[in-house]
Symmetry: C2
DNA sequence: CGATATGCTCGAACCGTTTCAACAGCCGTC
DNA sequence: GACGGCTGTTGAAACGGTTCGAGCATATCG
């Protein structure tokens, strides 16, 4: 009933050699004679021996696993990142523990504790807040850290991010150029830097156009999800007539899809009555009821680069230089912001 | 530079007790006097001691991690399942290694090897094929197995699934009742039982209506993704006029969204020219260009139940009874199949 | 007062690997 | 034939916890 897993000892006795030799066959086969190697390999197969990673880990002091902590597993933006990570760590023989902080500091903390106990080699994380004390602590314990989807808090962390201010700027400039002056910004929670940066980028675009921050009205959401987007619609519509926006810029596509649903339910047409711009350009943005204009981020690329940085540091801790990679976002214009699309 | 992680020995010497006592404070605090317990706790805090899970694991023989292997991380259906799993394993202090087989047997195999090396306590898996030899092998090595989103191959595995034949039946019956007689089934790869079951359920509905399997024309796709759905459209349109379907039933929502995009590109209106039904009812189905009729599965529930089954077996291996839980799917009708919606 | 039970603590064995110093042959050299 | 250099192999010491029998006070009881 219970596990009769063969150990290296069983292999050794079956092959008539010492455990050290078996270990050598596994790790430095060139040190072992052809003949013994063959016998050991045979024994391994016959017994179906699979080395115990916990033991190896214990002895070596460090494991072959990484932690990936994201804000929302259900957000395709993050699963695309995860795919990118996986594509590069898999071939390197690393396992990834995929954790969902759900945007909650408490959950994030619990997962980081767990990853510490696992003595993971490194952590790729999109932090919930700006508590870099926690990141420092990981570091001081010898755990490699790469900040994902955010610039690192200091020069001695690696990070991979996309210029969110620029993204916000692109989105709002696009709307301003289409003639919009009253714009709503739907996003939150405000503690996420991604949200504030996108907002501030938007404000910058307005100022460049001679308008003010008042023209980008902030509507906070408790979370950046479809449901929160739906709920935000009533607040947009509840604004005094004078402040009624003609366009909405959402902090991500999930919110935008929710807003779109909410507006549709209220018989408000997009883009005719209100223009809509999302962020991330997830695959579903293009398939939406009204194809969504969105700010594209190189999602898989983000994951791949982050994984490469951490592998680089893992393989050569001494020679490694911390880098803060910043990608550029790109505006993808679709129907949801094309006022003229139907009119014209 | 390198990790000076405190070990249980450091804690012991700092608190002036033996390592055994420290271990007891951690695992059976009631055996330790109030006084010592305090001293040990203090030492733990001062040193920032975090137990090494690999060591514990090694001694105990089994770890606190589970593996979750799914067909596609980027499919919201599976991330919702993952959420369900996570919600129930997290509080139980278990870590989950989330693996993406991507529908490829080779990748699945590599991940299972990895999970074996990790000596995970259990594996929740949506298998790529029907190679239950591999599952048997996990079992024989003492690794608990729960089959996800599929009925177990035999009575001595736990499984949590949804009745896919019934789902296919519901979808096609709905179309038949709306007057459709030529229906295309877009799905694949054919090796996935989920795909074949949904197809056969559809055939059953046709037969009940006095029609034949010929009326459900199979169009295989290489993968159940948005891109594959888009590509399938040309094949639907390439069918001889006589066999031209008036409705399409897709094996999942990703395919359906892709098909919808493809049709729109060809200026074919849904549902007026062709009706469309998806499967899974992911969140984005309702937000699609044309809100998608779909067959809903209790996604998070699926994940939760699976996790509960595995925790149950882990906690009481002897008393555990293997169970095959089967949920019922539910048809959610939206605009994409409502021929009358616009006409009426 | 001695025997026995009770409450805490200790120390050592053990889990399955890796690593490394030591060593056994064997060969060629001088 | 002693010697040094290779090649392969061995055995034991870690790694960091858990577990358990033994030991030692102290309290309980007859």
């Amino acid at each position: 009933m219970t596990a009769p897993m063969a150990s290296i000892k069983d292999v050794a006795s079956r092959a008539g050699v010492s455990v050290g030799t078996v270990s050598n066959v596994l790790n430095r086969p060139n040190l072992v004679s052809e003949l013994t190697r063959g016998r050991v390999r045979a024994a391994i197969n016959e017994l179906g021996f699979v080395p115990n990673d916990a033991a190896r880990h214990l002895r070596r002091g460090r494991g072959r696993t990484l932690g990936l902590v994201v804000l929302d597993v259900a957000n395709p933006f993050f699963t695309d990142i995860a795919k990118g990570v996986d594509d590069t760590t898999g071939p390197a023989g690393m396992a990834v523990i995929f954790c969902n902080s759900n945007g909650e500091a408490a959950r994030e903390g619990r997962y980081l504790d767990l990853l510490e106990e696992q003595r993971v080699q490194g952590v790729l994380i999109t932090p919930v807040g700006d508590d870099n004390a926690r990141l420092d602590r990981l570091r001081s314990r010898g755990i490699l850290v790469v900040v994902l989807d955010r610039p690192a808090p200091s020069r001695d962390f690696c990070s991979v991010s996309v210029d969110d201010r620029l993204g916000g700027e692109l989105a709002v400039r696009h709307l301003v150029e289409a003639g919009h002056e009253q714009i709503a910004f739907v996003g939150g929670p405000w503690r996420l830097e991604q949200v504030t940066d996108r907002y501030h980028g938007g404000v910058k675009a307005l100022e460049e156009a001679g308008l003010g921050a008042d023209n980008l009205r902030r509507l906070d959401t408790p979370s950046p999800t479809v449901a929160a987007g739906r709920d935000a619609v009533s607040r947009v519509l509840g604004l005094p007539r004078s402040a009624r926006p003609t366009a909405i810029f959402c902090a991500n596509d999930l919110l935008a899809l929710g807003v779109l649903q909410g507006l549709t339910r209220q018989q408000i047409r997009v883009p005719d009555d209100i223009a809509l711009v999302g962020y991330d350009d997830i695959e579903f943005a293009a398939a939406a009821a009204v194809p969504l204009t969105s700010v594209r981020q190189p999602r898989q690329e983000l994951g791949r680069s982050a994984a490469e940085l951490i592998l680089d540091e893992a393989n050569d801790p001494a020679g490694h230089q911390h880098r803060q990679i910043v990608f550029e976002p790109e505006l993808v214009v679709r129907e949801s912001s094309q006022h003229s699309f139907r009119r014209g």
